[in-house]
Amino acid sequence: MLPAIVLITLALAPLGLLARTGPRPLVGWALALLPALSFALLLFQLPQVTGTTQIREVIPWVPTMGVELSFALDGLSLLFALVITGIGTLIIGYAGHYMHDDPGLGRFLLYLILFMGAMLGLVLAGNVLTMFIFWELTSVTSYLLIGYKHDYPGARRGALQSLVITAGGGLALLLGLLILGEGARHAGVAPNQIYNFDAIIAAGAEIKAGPFYTPALLLILVGAFTKSAQFPFHFWLPGAMQAPTPASAFLHSATMVKAGVYLLARLAPGLGDTPLWHAALVLVGGFTFAFGALVATRKDDIKALLAYTTLSMLGGLIMLIGLGGKYAAEAVAVNILAHALYKSALFMIAGIIDHEAGSRDLRHLGGLRRMMPATAFFIALALLSQMGIPIFFGFVGKELLIEAALESLLAAPWRYAALAAIVIAAVGYIIAAWRLFKHAFLGTSSPTLAQRHHVADPRGMLVSPAIPALLSILVPLALLPWASQLLAPAASVVYGKPISFDLALWHGFNTALMVSSGAILLGILLARFERPLAALPPHLPAWADGADLLDRLLAGVDRIGGLIMGTLQTGQLRRYMLYNTITLLLITGVPFVLYVLPGLSFITPDPQLRIYEAFAAALIPIAVVAAIRAESRLSAIISVGVVGAMVSLFFILFSAPDLALTQLLIEVLSTVFLLLVFSILPARFANLSSPATRMRDAILSGMVGLLVAGLVLATATTTIFEPLAPYYLENSLAKGKGQNVVNVILVDFRGFDTMGEVTVLLTALLGIYGLLRMRREKQ
């Protein structure tokens, strides 16, 4: 059933194209049925998924290497899947309204549904490689969605940057996962199980002890931090706000950016509890948590503000996973749900404001409460939940957040650092939320807003944000028991051991309540004196802005590429030969001299060697000298032909007729071809290159000659590999039904190679045919 959900969603993505025809909103909601159905299906699985039990379904792909499309459902993946499909349903419906006048809606929905399938695949994956495939697919679809309005340069830049960062992280992740697999193999996991999540987590202790742990973890962290836009790599998320709002609401708030959090949460029980793990997660997560909140207070564009609060919340989640412990696991589960609810609502309402009021910039908005009362009500709900005001779901999340920081088992400084980050973030959220609400909805409407004649609550579009906003208040009030039944399995997966808890609004007076109310008071105070805050320098110093850095990096790469291209591709055959020889000398020559040469045993002259064989060998250099000193093309061709004949003479002397025949045939035929070609070229060598170049070429070719001689000698005297000849000799007659071993090998044992060779011949012919045909047309 699991693979069905993922693969059907992916397969039905083209249905999105239907949105081109018919009434857009209606088609939107019709398409939304698909995720709604998956939501319902997944919800039924809830009873089976208690504690850390798992439903597993496997489609074998490469069984021997343990590579298979395996899907598993447990508490954590169920929570994520429900968030994805639930919010997905709302988003697709919302998109139908939001983009009803946009011709490309079909294409947009195609990407969106494709993304949803990929995201579902990611969270439902049972083995690391399946997860990675969908991980990359989400990066690609996110690139397509961000770059949806491809005629805007800003959108293209944002899309490119997000792709470079997330795909780059994906590479690091792949490497990390493979090393992790090796670590699992090293730790004794069965070879075809090394990539399964549960096997890795089970063998966690041994892996952590093994040598592969640190590199694997670092690379995986890079993958997770780039995906979840953590501090050094955070700048692509604000850039991704170029995407249409439905995409921002879905990808860049609720689902895709949480993939990094999901991965770390899933690996926590296995790979967590090591100093490296705690340090990295708490430090990076905590810093992004505080940093994101502070920067959010400075932003005037609503979507940028929301983007920074999102990446800050992600930082908080990662910090929680770093803190570890029972409360942290609970906090992670609760906050994932809480954040998904209020942030998607905020993004959708931001879309409504942009759609109705024509701008997202707080400076151009104001007094919308009179024109859009319903929207004002719902955005108030969502903002209050974000600020963590008591009766809201956000408050429950923040309570657990603070308890996790207090009760974590880490050393004191870590806990206080985490607590400080939480307080800063809480204050930041309050200021940002207050600024958003005040400038957009309170006060008088700005001059630009005044001219817009028709600004009112949009009918259908408001439905989608309303549901999560209402849930942010209803869940803490009425649905807590049901919610805790949903969140308990998720938390137990993160914690590693089954835990059950029942959420409650009121935990009595404890330090957590003190801290959170203190933070709220501080926030309100600071929000009052908002003007001095505005005086602070708005942005980071230029050099620290990640986006510019990346642009300069990409431009640099282009320049270097052009440079290399220029020097290498000069169009002269001589230069290509030169580069080939130099590469050959470096790549084979150097290791040969270092490793093989010392061990080379010069074979003692073989007793049967006749004097005439030795003397014949001495003749070949004469022909070579003749070829070098030839001053006309024809003499050069003749001498080269003679060298070939002498070599085939040797094959005859050592009675290898097949080889002699083939060698000589090729030799004469190439002489004839050269004659045909050269009869077109001017007879004399037009201009011999300068003595210096000729000396250089002489030296180079001399060295290559020595290298090849050495290689032949090495292969003749090596004892590392046992010779193949005996096998072929004895089986030639039995299996191959022929005494002529050479041909039996060519045609029977290694028939496939000959097949390849003949195809190469044909391709070469087609190449020549094409080239000459082009020349004929030109003349």
Binding site: F615, V642, L649, L664, A683
Partner: protein
Amino acid sequence: MNLFSIVMGILLSILVISLGLTMIRLLIGPSIPDRAMAFDTIMLHVVGIGSITAALTDAVMLIDAVIVVAVLGFLGTVALARYIEEGGN
């Protein structure tokens, strides 16, 4: 090493020596047709050496190789002659 193979060995060495002489002509041959002649003679020598080796090692298979070598020698020389005349030196 009976007398027969010794004598044949000597004959083979003489052939290789005469091959050496032809190579010298290849090296110094003033004009291109000289080199072409050297090429033709060398192919003949290859045929000779091949046949004697076949006799010495009693390898009947070599005779087939020698046949094709003879054909190739002829084809090579004729092609050379043609393109010398046509392409100019």
